[in-house]
Symmetry: C2
Subunit: 75 residues, 2 copies
């Protein structure tokens, strides 16, 4: 596995968050996760678990699948 996979995922979260025009704090509130935790995810410092992936997707109002809609993830 590539080391930067987490970063790509984090960038995708950031991308979707910005497209919704909300702050990390707001996303944190919507997904019941700490704002600093969201920050860590977007910077690729966190190896997020399935549970939190689904919560974030839900908070962003997109299917979980969208968080993996990244060219580099498709082989």
């Amino acid at each position: 596995m590539r080391q930067d996979a987490q970063q790509l995922f984090g960038l995708r979260v950031k991308q979707l968050r910005l497209s919704k025009d909300i702050s990390q704090e707001e996303l944190g509130a919507l997904s019941n996760l700490d704002r600093t935790y969201i920050s860590g995810i977007e910077r690729g410092k966190r190896n997020v678990s399935l549970k939190n992936i689904l919560q974030i997707a839900s908070a962003l109002g997109v299917p979980a699948l969208e968080l993996f809609n990244i060219p580099e993830f498709k082989g």
Copy 2:
């Protein structure tokens, strides 16, 4: 978040694994994960992390996105 989300994910893994005609043991070997852990995932008992999600997708030869290609995840 729904409680059964993990189970849906596990069923999807199982579905893809069976379509490849490989055993849990083989998938474990391919993804560098313990066979009992794969079993737990498929039964919805495990909260898999991003890193392992990507490893499993890679072992199955599908983009990570495919693991989330579940009707119930899109609503």
